[in-house]
């Protein structure tokens, strides 16, 4: 039943916000309360789950039985981690808007709707329901980006919408094909699907369909061109949703469906997908170096980071999969941290152009410190969360092929290049007309950044808390798909 509450709380508050009159002074607070309630519930659920993982109840209301489609929500390690990420980030994303532009009710209502859809995506155990939540999550972000977006928001958002909608439809086709082409009666439950379809000739189509859908969402090179534009034009809170949580849907999908459904094809063709991901890492890292807009720079850096995640995951080695799990979480935290810093910066300067900024560190040492720690997390310095993730991912890639690992590893050099270059130009040097009156962070803003920074260091110091949750899920998916290389 708890899972039911979990998904209804954001939904109810969302509807409430849609219903009541616009009050810019309190709507943010209502949304914050809703997201905190959801976080509380999620924490409670996590405790319940961890005390007895196998006995965790499935939420299964008798909505409908049709064609074996069932409304089922449950948890395993993978779902739990993404649920925690989602519910942890939402309050911060909402809170980061305090002191920014006032928004209408619908803005927050859409955000909460999005939270509900994301929770659904990560916790459902029915593949058709997964598809429904998947597309449902697209609607709020579409409106957020198009209604509150900056320059050229309509065209850019529309492109994104169509692009990922097409991906979604291809996935739907694959789901139906899978369902229809396999004999016997079975449901749409994941577990049933894992037992289907071992015919390698059909697998390649299924693999391609799923992969394209997820590759667009993540995005993986060369399906990424919607991303930098959208990140730039969307309101920053929307960008946080996109980069911090929504793209994890794609990686989650790779994990849940591509790996277990198409093992034979991956054995033969996995290298192509890994090659695409690795190309993306280098490609995006190099492009990031010369980006002049902060949001675009972060967008390309994100592209490089998720390229590494998908490459490591697709090696289907134990370390690679474990690293992908870990890095999904780290990446979510770090990139939201970066965008929060961006938000605070733009609020004061009105510009995200790197060349217009400079010298902020001398006016705002507190801001500089937070920004620096988050940046260090993002370039994976040891004792930050993403070091653990990248270490495991690169180790997985190394087991797959040392040369590939060496090439992917170049990202740690490029990462330092573009991030430090950016930091230098934004924070150091002489002040400019935009930054001369830069005020340091206020209490509200510090409160938003503290959880991020604590999470970055905590996960870097004690990664076990997260790894232990991930391991059973990795073993489970691994037992279906994997070529564990055992060392």
């Amino acid at each position: 039943m708890l899972m039911g509450y979990l998904i209804s709380v954001p939904l109810i508050f969302s509807l409430l916000l849609f219903a009541i009159k616009d009050r810019t002074s309190i709507n943010g607070k209502i949304a914050l309360v809703a997201s905190l309630l959801t976080l509380g519930l999620a924490l409670w659920i996590a405790r319940l789950y961890l005390s007895d993982p196998s006995g965790f109840p499935v939420f299964h209301p008798d909505f409908f039985h049709y064609l074996g489609i069932e409304f089922k929500l449950s948890l395993d390690g993978l779902s739990l981690l993404l649920l925690m990420l989602t519910t942890f980030l939402f309050p911060l994303i909402i809170y980061s808007g305090v002191g920014g532009e006032p928004r209408r009710n619908s803005f927050y209502a859409l955000m909460l709707l999005m939270e509900m859809a994301l929770i659904g995506v990560f916790t459902t155990t029915d593949i058709l329901l997964f598809y429904i939540f998947w597309e449902l999550a697209l609607i709020p972000i579409f409106f957020i980006a198009i209604l509150w977006g900056g320059d050229n928001a309509r065209a850019i958002t529309f492109k994104f919408f169509l692009y990922t909608l097409v991906g979604g439809l291809i996935m739907l086709a694959a789901i139906i094909a899978l369902y229809v082409h396999t004999g016997g009666s079975h449901s749409f439950a994941f577990a049933d699907f894992y037992r289907l379809m071992r015919d390698p000739r059909a697998q390649i189509w299924i693999l391609s369909a799923f992969f394209v859908a997820f590759a667009i969402k993540i995005p993986i090179f060369p399906f990424h061109t919607w991303q930098p534009d959208l990140y730039q034009t969307a309101p920053t809170q929307g960008t946080m949703l996109l980069a911090g949580i929504m793209l994890k849907m794609g990686i989650y999908g790779l994990f849940r469906f591509v790996l277990p459904l198409c093992p034979d094809t991956l054995d033969r063709w996995g290298f192509v997908l890994i090659a695409l991901s690795v190309t993306g890492i280098i490609y995006a890292s190099i492009i990031a170096i010369r980006q002049n807009h902060l949001k675009r720079l972060i967008a390309y850096s994100s592209l490089a980071h998720v390229g590494l995640i998908s490459a490591g995951l697709l090696t289907r080695t134990f370390y690679g999969m474990e690293g992908a799990m870990f890095q999904m979480i780290s990446h979510g935290i770090n990139i939201v941290g970066l965008f929060i810093c961006y938000e605070f910066l733009v609020r004061r300067t009105g510009t995200g152009e790197i060349s217009s900024l400079g010298g902020i560190a001398s006016n705002a040492p507190v801001f500089a410190t937070f920004f620096m720690i988050i940046l260090l997390g993002s370039i994976s310095l040891p004792l930050t969360n993403s070091f653990i993730g990248e270490f495991l991912l690169l180790m997985g890639l190394f087991q797959y092929n040392p040369i590939v690992a060496a090439i992917s590893g170049l990202s740690i050099i490029f990462g330092a290049v573009y991030m430090l270059r950016m930091f230098q130009r934004v924070m150091y040097g002489p002040t400019t007309e935009y930054t001369i009156h830069f005020k340091d962070l206020n209490t509200n803003e510090v409160i938003v950044l503290i959880p991020i920074v604590v999470a970055i260091i905590w996960l870097g110091l004690a990664p076990g808390s997260l790894i232990d949750i991930a391991t059973p899920a990795v073993r489970y998916i691994g037992s279906i798909t994997m070529q564990i290389i055992d060392y």
Binding site: Q291, F318, E322, L383, F398, G429, L461
Partner: protein, 632 residues
């Protein structure tokens, strides 16, 4: 005692956090005092440990907590206490304490005083993690952590973009080496299933010498050392790193951080001894670096740059010692070098302080009378580094030369040449700064003055160590018992018999001492006549040939890197973004969309609302269907 070893890094960490949280609240020199006290306490603890640690059990591993545990890989957060780490502890905390105290005087009045000390404490913390770690991954935490602090401290005066560039360059060049290091770790995990020293060395020692994978591992580890310890081809960041405040140069870029590569290889001596190819490479790289950097040092005009290149050159000599298998000699030189190079840098700082920021030696001269105490200390440092007995450098350099000659005569002669260069550039520096006529403008409001006591006293301590430090390792033929090597012997393996050409007899040992000594004295005399007596007749430059131009411009290496790496990457960045990203990939995506729109546009004419057309399509369709059914 050893089980409380975690206190040692914890103290500076607490200092860092406390100062960091109270950046605005701490007034006056309080931050400096707090920082110094934490490091000094760590030093006292290390001293106690040094005297009480009993080596019966070999090294002791202190496990703190499980850090990473995935699948078969289990990495403990654990410290290793043995003679090598105790030695490094003493150096780091000892030199660290003196430089902290010195900095109180040096940084007084700087707007970033508190920030400076928080970074310094953080640096000491990471450096201690580096030397204490009981496995390669903990070492790597410190390894990257000190890189970060180096970055922060080089760019300490961050309003100046030239300094920031230097800081960034240091970090990135280090990261290049770090990638090699990481790959070495993956190989270690693959081959030995662990990254802990004990397990790796235990398993590696059962492999035959020269195994390919060991060569690979050691080569990759050495790549890491090249970055961190500024060797060819990654040494150009170190001279630029002099942008940082001078105490930083003394602590990080002379005494401690840059020697991390030496420490790491000495720590892994077992692996390296099993890889003769890597050992030979280390000798070659170290020797080339020592010669190149030594020759560049002769032509520098910036007091700190001379010292920086000198550091690179001395590090090269330490690598020669490592490569020839005389690990104890490398560690010995590391230790004495920490004393006298820190002293020299602090002396340089004192000179710069006295001249209110002047660093160009062309605008110095005659300072012997103005700041006699600094002069005396600088002189001691110079004598020590040049290898003049009985100062510290003499003994450690002798140990390295001995190893080099045992490795081979050519190596020996070249190493001697590199060591002799020290005398030239150091005495040139000494003479140009302290002798001759003053070449600086002194005005009444800013008189040239001796540094405050906190600075001179700490320098005196280092000076004493530079004088007596060598006696810790007094070799046998001079009547000593080489206590230094004996102390490290439980940790450092001795080279396998047969890798050395022949053992050297007593006569040759004496020759090795006397011949270089005569040459050094000759060179000092030459420098005296060249830079003091006849300084004016021949002007400043040492010559103007193409060789000189090449050398004084550090062989145009920076320009080469810019042309070969930086520019192409920048070009590629623009190319990928404009031509590939926008020009091809995105265009394709957009054209797919346009195509759909185009199809829609054209197809809609079919549904134009004309009933006649609809009937026509219907009839045609029926005919086609019938037609198909007919032939089925």
């Amino acid at each position: 005692m050893a089980e409380y070893i975690w206190l040692v890094p914890l103290l500076p960490l607490i200092g860092f956090i406390f100062i960091g949280l109270n950046l605005k609240r701490l007034k006056g020199i309080n931050a400096g005092l707090i920082a110094s006290v934490t490091v000094a306490s760590a030093f006292l603890f290390s001293l106690l440990l040094f005297f009480t640690y009993d080596n019966q059990s070999g090294g002791r591993t202190i496990e703190l907590f499980k850090w990473i545990e995935v699948h078969r890989l289990s990495v403990q957060f654990s410290f290793l206490v043995d003679h090598l780490s105790i030695l490094m502890l003493l150096i780091v905390t000892g030199i660290g304490t003196s430089i902290h105290i010195y900095s109180i005087g040096y940084m007084k009045g700087d707007g970033g005083f508190n920030r400076f000390f928080s970074y310094m404490n953080l640096f000491v913390f990471f450096m201690l993690i580096l030397v204490l770690g009981a496995n390669y991954l903990i070492l790597f935490i410190g390894w990257e952590g000190v890189g970060l602090c180096s970055y922060l401290l080089i760019g300490f005066w961050f309003k100046n973009h030239a300094y920031n560039d230097a800081a960034k360059k240091a970090f990135i060049m280090n990261r290049i080496g770090d990638l090699g290091f990481l790959l070495a770790l993956f190989f270690l995990v693959r081959e030995f299933g662990s990254v802990s020293y004990f397990e790796v060395f235990g398993k590696a020692s059962q492999l035959p010498s020269g195994t390919t994978v060991l060569t690979l591992i050691t080569m990759l580890l050495f790549t890491g050392a090249i970055g961190k310890s500024a060797q060819i081809p990654l040494f150009t960041w170190l001279p630029d790193a002099m942008a940082g405040p001078t105490p930083v140069s003394a602590l990080i870029h002379a005494a401690t951080m840059v020697t991390a590569g030496i420490y790491m290889i000495a720590r892994s001596n077992l692996l390296f001894l099993l890889s003769p190819v890597t050992m030979a490479t280390i000798v070659a790289v170290g020797l080339a670096t020592a010669l190149v950097a030594g020759s560049i040092a002769i032509y520098q005009q910036d007091i700190k740059k001379v010292l920086a290149y000198s550091t690179v050159s001395q590090l090269g000599l330490m690598f020669v010692a490592l490569g020839t298998g005389t690990f104890a000699a490398a560690m010995f030189h590391l230790t004495t070098h920490a004393f006298f190079k820190a002293l020299l840098f602090l002396g340089a700082g004192s000179v710069i302080h006295a001249l209110h920021g002047e660093q160009d030696i062309r605008r110095m001269g005659g300072l012997k009378i103005k700041i006699p105490f600094t002069f005396l200390l600088f002189l001691i440092g110079t004598l020590a580094i040049s290898g003049i007995p009985p100062f510290a450098g003499f003994f450690s350099k002798d140990a390295i030369l001995l190893g080099a000659f045992q490795f081979g005569p050519v190596t020996g002669i070249l190493t001697t040449a590199a060591a002799l260069m020290t005398a030239i550039y150091m005495f040139r520096l000494l003479f140009k700064v302290f002798y001759g006529i003053p070449r600086f403008a002194e005005n009444a409001s800013h008189p040239v003055h001796e540094s405050p006591a906190s600075m001179t006293w700490t320098m005196s301590l280092l000076a004493i160590l530079s004088i007596v430090g060598g006696f810790f390792g007094l070799p046998h033929f001079l009547g000593g018992s080489d206590r230094f090597a004996a102390y490290l012997s439980p940790v450092l393996a001795t080279p396998i018999e047969g890798t050395r050409s022949e053992s050297i007899n007593l006569l040759s040992e004496w020759m090795l001492v006397i011949i270089p000594l005569i040459l050094v004295i000759g060179l000092v005399a030459y420098s005296w006549s060249r830079f003091v007596k006849r300084a004016n007749e021949r002007g400043d430059a040492l010559g103007n040939g193409w060789m000189v131009r090449w050398v004084s411009n550090k062989f145009y290496l920076d320009e080469l890197y810019e042309a070969m790496i930086q520019k192409p990457v920048m070009w590629l960045s623009t190319f990928l973004h404009e031509k590939i990203e926008i020009g091809i990939i995105d265009k394709l995506v957009n054209q797919t969309g346009t195509l759909v729109v185009w199809i829609g546009k054209n197809i809609r004419y079919i549904q134009a609302g004309n009933v006649g057309y609809y009937l026509f399509y219907m009839v045609i369709s029926i005919i086609i269907i019938l037609f198909f059914n007919l032939f089925k």
